[in-house]
Symmetry: C2
Subunit: 286 residues, 2 copies
């Protein structure tokens, strides 16, 4: 989470989501490469090359690669390697969550070896004890983002159940996570235990920001899902303390509002600049 | 879930968990194969060969294979293929959970293509709407097991939060899942929406069995985690309606109580027979 914080200081809060479905790739690029592996990788590479100087971090959604089997996962691995070469922090959006030895295996899988990332997303449904297998890695610069309040319309089914003490499930979890993070406190004021808080429920986001002043947020839901720059500013602290993800809004910018017929990578760059500036305009330091 | 039900009718309730860590593999087998991929696959193959006539289903825990990167996932794929060849239903223990298009990608990944399984485990924290992308596959013979009440000591942190109506989170979820399953009702009385209910919390298991008469259970926690045959019988309906998983108890049987110095695969067979008979002795039909 140190690398992420530094990256936001330098480049703003944009997180480019590499949720790369084969059908998002322009026909011309698809024709240039014979394998799905190369198509996925070279599409990502062009997006990364076009945006790496203005992007705080990349979030790579593993589901899109798993869906293509081993060749997809080869593209996943090569994309992670390429982002590491560029020395940009990368978040693996894997939403794993399991117990004991199985969680150790997930930690090994995604914090070392071929699929190594800087941060990963974790699902907490099985309990706070399921986070512990990741803790050794947190002492060595890695970070986790725990699902807290997600951006989908039905996210309340479990997350918003109200307890007998009048707190929602996500509020109870927020208190636990903020406390859990204390023992790993970083110099920048945050901890390597972050939280996923979607920007489609702004009142809840504001409340969570107050409850969790030392927790770094990964904020999905911008753009395609409806979140605006003004919404997002409520999740940040003076322009840091979080990264804001957009996936289709950036990857598919070339298919929308593209009067100059920009190449897909140029269009993605424009979309990142627009997003970065829109967010920084409303979240300036006081 | 039809295939699983039929398999339990014929062979009993044992689910062999292929949570194959490299260090579980006997030295002699490891020396016979140069690659981790082959070591994992041939260990699994021998376990499958030794147990397939007495095992209702295999549950393959993907974390152990992800931890070995692409070669691990190659072994994962080959193991799935081998189980399919034997015409035995296989559960992919992937515990994925995500929204909309991302969930569609996970469904594609694990219900078709190289990683195709009959059933998969799903994490419901993000909401009931996140199950919907799997529904088209349920109409075509696939099944999901949704995490409900898990076997780990800390499982209550979220699952046992008590609501303002005095129901726990897992009870609220149980009601939702049982209802959700109704629209896919199968001839055998169950639905393709199953639930994961650990056998380390027996009172809760009994309660859930009553609340969810038409839901098929995947029951982890037997053996190494402390669950007994008597505990398990409370989760079944007349000896069907669920499968009971054991992983290390079977894979590592050769390292424990092995006075005759059986080979690892023979020892695993003995462990399965013992478990099957112990469970059937206490869950006989009335």
């Amino acid at each position: 989470m140190e690398k992420l914080y530094e990256s936001v200081e330098k480049k703003g809060t944009v997180c480019v989501g590499l949720d790369t479905a084969v059908e998002y790739i322009p026909e011309s690029l698809r024709k240039s490469y014979d394998t799905v592996e190369d198509q996925l990788f070279y599409f990502n590479k062009k997006i990364i090359d076009a945006t790496c100087d203005i992007t705080a971090t990349y979030k790579i959604q593993i589901a899109y690669y798993e869906a293509e089997g081993l060749s997809g996962l080869n593209a996943y691995k090569r994309t992670l390697e390429y982002i590491r070469e560029k020395n940009i922090p990368v978040i693996a959006d894997i939403k794993r969550g399991d117990i004991a030895k199985t969680a150790e295996m997930y930690a090994k899988a995604h914090f070392s070896g071929e699929f190594e990332a800087d941060c990963i997303t974790i699902n907490p449904y099985m309990g706070i004890d399921t986070l512990e297998p990741y803790y050794d890695y947190l002492k060595n610069g890695k970070g986790i983002f725990v699902l807290l309040k997600t951006s989908n319309p039905g996210s309340g089914a479990i997350q918003n159940i109200k307890s007998e003490n009048n707190e929602t499930v996500y509020e109870i979890l927020a208190t636990l996570l903020e406390k859990e993070g204390e023992r790993f406190a970083l110099k920048n004021g945050y901890s390597p235990i972050g939280a996923v808080v979607g920007c489609t429920h702004v009142d809840e986001g504001k409340k969570l920001r107050k409850m969790m002043p030392r927790t770094f947020f990964l904020v999905p839901g911008y753009g395609a899902q409806g979140g605006t720059a003004a919404d997002v500013s409520e999740y940040l602290n003076d322009g840091n303390g979080g990264v804001v993800n957009s996936s289709r809004g950036i990857l598919l910018a070339y298919k929308r509002d593209n009067p100059d017929n920009l190449a897909f990578d140029e269009a993605s760059r424009h979309a990142v600049i627009q997003m970065r500036d829109a967010i920084s305009a409303v979240s300036k330091r006081g």
